[in-house]
């Protein structure tokens, strides 16, 4: 709870942002400092994902984890990205301003209000997180102990990683926890809640930065702010578990895929690959989310499959390669797989219908998500009729597939009861991904309708 611990966390998260921004510069180039600033949130998430993915592989092969290892990996990764950028001929950013966008004074005012309201809310969340004790069961029972084990024992300690609950859950979040402990100078399980606050700030910055050039400010900020304030999302942001991170990595990756379908810029795919690889090592459903996004992108790009499919398959291959070593590690330690009891058609039709009904009830529960899912669905419908149909089709299919995936989880694990009780069924936590994706899709969908109505190219 000291200033030193907070400064350590701030420095660590700054280093994630520098690492990821360097990666972004290497794969995309950042012509102006304003581009670097606008995409700093995306860079931060890429840095977090890349760091976690690399350290997962290093821990699996037995490389000891320590303070110097953290520093060297962050510095080495950044240096490698910069050298790659130089070899690719990227130029140093220069100048400010955004020649591709001439914002009206109204747009500037809306942006200022959006940033101010978001900042005010995040500041309140900072104060709430700063002195937060460890309360959530999953957090104290296994997520944080795994982070402590990496911090104290320097690796995937066999006792902790094979006998504590959730032994097959991937280690990316415990790695981030252990890194935060190093940055703070101790396993301070109170101040480290701020690590999750930094992730929330990075997520907001990433989404706003990605969408900034594609939607007007008055369509960007209301849905983004609303999803931050709905009860189940706002309360989840301070909980030191993997749920928020896996949802954020998936949703930002899906946004990049949606934009890639629109403009075909290759760097978006490379960035999505890093984020999806991180999601696959954050939580088990991260692989399901990534697979759903890639399958829908394959279908959406059918018309230009010769150029698009090899790239999408390469993204899928990278995600699979990143996910494999951890699965081999726990298999080699005698742990069973993650497959459900009724993965196929073994369950009853009644259970399937009950699972679907439960997923729908949870999705449209206004006490959890306010009106976000309803408005998002209306936005999808409007865009399918009046807006960019390819974009709307991609997002509608992805939302539908992830929704069905949630019902499938309830259906196929026979030991999960049909209930929204979070202590025995993960459907509420799972549905955060759908709500978040719906909310951040709304600006893109509504902007395409607006442009269509205004007579611009969708």
């Amino acid at each position: 709870m000291t200033v030193r611990a907070i400064l350590g966390l701030a420095a660590l998260n700054g280093a994630y942002a520098v690492l990821g921004s360097s990666l972004l510069w290497a794969i995309r180039g950042l012509p102006r400092w304003s581009d670097a600033l606008r995409l700093a949130g995306l860079g931060y998430l890429m840095g977090v994902a890349a760091f976690g993915v690399v350290w997962t592989q290093l821990l699996v092969v037995g490389v000891p984890f320590g303070g110097w290892g953290v520093v060297l990996s962050l510095a080495g990764g950044t240096a490698l990205a910069i050298v790659t950028g130089v070899l690719l001929g990227r130029r140093r950013p220069h100048g400010f301003g955004d020649p591709d966008r001439h914002a009206s004074s109204g747009a500037v005012l809306v942006t200022a209000v959006g940033v101010a309201l978001t900042g005010l809310l995040l500041e309140a969340m900072f104060r709430a997180a700063r002195l937060q004790g460890l309360q959530a069961y999953d957090a104290w029972a296994f997520w944080v102990p795994k982070g402590k084990a990496i911090f104290y024992f320097g690796g995937l300690d066999q006792q902790v990683f094979t006998t504590f609950p959730g032994p097959t859950y991937p280690p990316l979040v415990p790695i981030l926890d252990a890194t935060a402990f190093h940055a703070m100078g101790s396993a301070d399980v109170i101040t480290f809640h701020l690590q999750y606050w930094f992730l929330a700030v990075g997520a907001v910055a990433a989404i706003a930065g990605i969408l900034y050039r594609h939607v007007p400010a008055w369509l960007l900020w209301p849905p983004l702010l609303l999803v931050l304030t709905v009860p189940r999302v706002a309360s989840g942001l301070r909980v030191p578990q993997a749920d928020v991170l896996v949802d954020v990595l998936f949703v930002v990756g899906a946004l990049l895929l949606a934009l890639w379908l629109h403009d075909g810029r290759g760097w978006r795919l490379a960035a999505a690959a890093v984020l999806f690889a991180g999601a696959g090592l954050t939580k088990r459903e991260g692989l399901l989310f990534a697979a759903a996004a890639l399958v829908v992108a394959l279908a959406a790009s059918f018309g230009r499959r010769r150029a698009a499919w090899p790239r999408l398959l390469a993204v899928g291959g990278l995600v699979a390669v990143a996910a494999l070593p951890w699965r081999l590690w726990y298999r080699s330690h005698g742990l069973g797989g993650e497959a459900p009891t009724d993965a196929g058609a073994g369950g009853s039709v009644d259970r399937m219908l009950d699972a679907l009904r439960l997923s729908a009830d949870v999705l449209f529960d206004t006490t959890l998500w306010s009106v976000v899912p309803v408005v998002a669905l209306i936005a999808v419908g409007a865009a399918l009729v009046w807006g960019d149909r390819r974009l709307a089709g991609f997002l509608a299919a992805l939302l539908g597939l992830v929704f069905v995936g949630g019902a499938w989880v309830t259906y196929s694990y026979r030991d999960i009861p049909i209930t929204a009780n979070e202590s025995v069924n993960p459907i509420v936590r799972y549905t955060v991904a759908i709500v978040l994706l719906g909310a951040v899709s709304m600006p893109l969908l509504l902007a395409s309708v607006w442009r269509s109505v205004a007579g611009e190219r969708p």
Partner: protein
């Protein structure tokens, strides 16, 4: 489109104030707790007396191991004590490892006869104690 935006803005007006108030209330509640309450966290719901956790942290060296032995529930225990004491302790006391043959025994109304030669080094109420034995 106008409908979506209007509904979003109305919902935002309601939700924003709720979320802001909730974050402030949480910050205030957290600030009102003392250091031990924050450090123990969920353990306050598991154990009848947080002193056991404080003593365990102080008495058991960080490179040694401990066992947890739970006996019949006592009147002062919470409904979580019997089932959650061991999982909480093995998380809370890291890097101390849990081991049934450890020199330290965190005893919750346990059968002390099962640990011959073990002496209490701390004893609290509701059957809570910490034992130490020579191995």
């Amino acid at each position: 489109m106008a409908f979506c935006l209007a509904v979003t803005l109305v919902a935002l007006a309601v939700q924003y104030t709720d979320a802001f108030r909730d974050a402030n209330d949480t910050a205030r509640a957290n600030a009102a707790l003392d250091l031990i309450d924050r450090k123990v966290g969920a353990g306050n719901s598991v154990f009848p007396d947080q002193q056991l956790l404080v003593e365990a942290l102080g008495l058991i060296p960080s490179d040694e191991s401990f066992a947890v032995s739970v006996g019949p529930p006592q009147p002062g225990w919470t409904e979580l004590t019997a089932d959650s004491a061991e999982p909480f302790l093995r998380s809370f006391l890291l890097p101390r490892r849990i081991d049934p043959n450890a020199p330290w025994i965190v005893c919750l109304a346990c059968d002390r006869a099962a640990y011959p030669g073990a002496d209490p080094v701390w004893e609290g109420e509701d059957g809570l104690s910490i034992l130490r034995r020579e191995l």
